[in-house]
Symmetry: C2
Subunit: 354 residues, 2 copies
């Protein structure tokens, strides 16, 4: 199949810095190539891919320090339209920017929505575009926008050899991610304290969270059971997870997909997570971890963590969350889309529609 | 003629706060209605217009405090496309966001570019879209982007009754606008000092300019010949200009169109301006003011300001810069566009183009 993957330009694919969407697009694109498809990736020029790369900007927008980020996005959109005849299907990862354009294009399109959708402005938008087929990254992600034209959920996946499973004998638990209020590192620290176990924290402070971090979090990091590793690289993440007894994920918001959950699973590391957003879709309670609703339950779960088989965690990852599984799920959607959707004729304005 | 005017959503039309583009769109729209055209204005719901108003958002984006500004813009763009069959011509004031869409639309479009264009990212964009007809607000504005498909320059205009001409006997000069480095209020203060005349300064401090203001400007305002009025309302602007001996406009950047220049002219107030950007297109040297290149020349010009006839200033405003003149210039372009541009057929991807 001749497939175009259209990535955001803000980060390269894969991202040099933080960039969940660009990471998933990288894994998906390479997996599609591995499955034998003819894939073209539209992304910034510093991207690295097994597919054919088409770039309208030499570097990611974050690195280029440009004044007008929208210019690159519109330029890429036009580049995609100019080449659309080369593809069977266009798969967008760029939110809704292309919606007005792609309805004029007699080409099948699918769009994966990667972000949170509980933003009031999105309701009238997706009501207007309720004919545009969109894919969710979890069922939970759809809740604020039931009106959108959801065609499927496809969970994110990682290359199977990206992380090696470990035996978790580091005698610590781990918290990974960002110091934003909804991630609730304070809960993680308290859970570890009550369970009398060390916690290693590898997290970054976003500009927007600096005040919260200074006021609410910094003093908690001084406790003897806390080890603060700051922001770590991809190479350190594997061993950190693989040697951890458990990953603590006590979130307070409807996270559409927690990448760190499947990273932990890939390392064979059980998860203790609060029941929000996509958590119950990713974590099998009692099999790959425990889903809890309080610090007490989380502490109890941590004391029972030996009941979870690390082999089961890794096996579940390979079965459900590898990038090949993700790519196969998408290919099924591409095929269904090519079969089912009627070939779109040239667009007619409403007055001329029947 | 059935005309759609498409305004930015960030401010209402006219703007409640600062918003040059929305102000011009308001003046143009009302003038087109006055000339007997059937005009629809796409703008935020708190806009006030003599035309038919179509809104996708109840209030301007600035007032709505929304998280995702792009959602409203895309929604409005689709609303325009859905109704495009109702119009002879679509006139956009929303930069380039609509470019990929309007090339699929079998409807004549024109776009006025209101902003500065010396931004590197715009070069490849306008190279890609060099078939899209665009209108400049001064010839100077085009300089960084000779590659764009410029069809005309149309200067901004004001309603003739918006400002009343005055006799300028207030014994002061005036500086109006923002305290940004490129506006060079420091020069204005120095010019007034050397000419031994009082200067009244009505200007606002944008968030981005706070440091510059505190460090470079605030201490200059303490001088005895300076009166700092802070930010003033529309009602105070007229008398302030009408009683001023001259407007000082010692800018340091290629301003695409200085609205305050024609506001001064409307009040009969001569201008002393540095030779940058659109200045020589708006100010007639020796007739409506003096164009200078140094503080010395500016001081000399100020000493000779009695040589400029305030009646000539007002007459030039009425002849060249009223909103009716602006609207007539645009109507001529609309007519030319409807006659000249071949009716666009449905878009074909490049492989099928001949």
């Amino acid at each position: 199949m001749k497939i175009a993957q259209i990535a955001p330009l803000v980060e390269s694919v894969p991202p040099k810095f933080y960039g969940g969407t660009e990471r998933v697009v990288a894994y998906l694109t390479d997996a599609l190539v591995k499955l034998g498809h003819n894939v073209t990736l539209f992304a910034s020029g510093d991207s690295i891919t097994k597919a054919r790369l088409v770039s309208v900007t030499p570097t990611s927008l974050r690195l280029s320090n440009c004044v007008d980020q929208m210019a690159g996005n519109i330029l890429q959109l036009q580049e995609v339209m100019d080449r659309s005849h080369e593809f069977d299907l266009l798969h967008f990862h760029t939110d809704y920017l292309h919606f007005p354009v792609t309805r004029f294009c007699n080409k099948k399109t699918l769009t994966t929505l990667h972000g949170r959708l509980d933003i009031p402005e999105l309701k009238p938008l997706y009501k207007k575009f309720n004919d545009v087929p969109v894919i969710s990254i979890s069922n939970a992600q759809r809740r604020p926008l039931p009106i959108a034209n959801w065609v499927a959920t496809v969970y994110h996946g990682l290359p199977v050899d990206l992380y090696q499973p470990g035996n978790g004998d580091g005698d610590y638990v781990v918290f990974l991610g960002r110091f934003s209020p909804e991630k609730r590192v304070d809960r993680a620290i308290e859970i570890a304290k009550r369970a009398n176990i060390k916690i290693k924290i590898a997290a970054k402070v976003d500009k927007a969270d600096e005040r919260y971090f200074e006021k609410e979090i910094r003093h908690l990091l001084d406790q003897p059971h806390v080890e603060y590793l700051q922001e770590i690289g991809e190479a350190e993440k594997g061993p950190l997870l693989a040697n951890a007894k458990a990953l603590l994920f006590p979130i307070d918001w409807p996270e559409p997909f927690g990448m760190v959950l499947i990273e932990a699973m890939a390392c064979g590391t059980p998860i203790i997570a609060y029941n929000h957003g996509s958590v119950p879709e990713i974590v099998d309670h009692g099999k790959t971890g425990f889903i809890v609703n309080s610090i007490e339950k989380a502490t109890e779960a941590l004391q029972n963590i030996h009941l979870i088989s690390r082999e089961d965690c890794r096996a579940t990852f390979e079965k459900r969350f590898s990038n090949i599984v993700m790519a196969k799920n998408y290919v099924r959607l591409y095929e269904r889309s090519l079969l089912k959707q009627p070939e779109r004729s040239f667009y007619l304005t409403p007055a001329y529609r029947k």
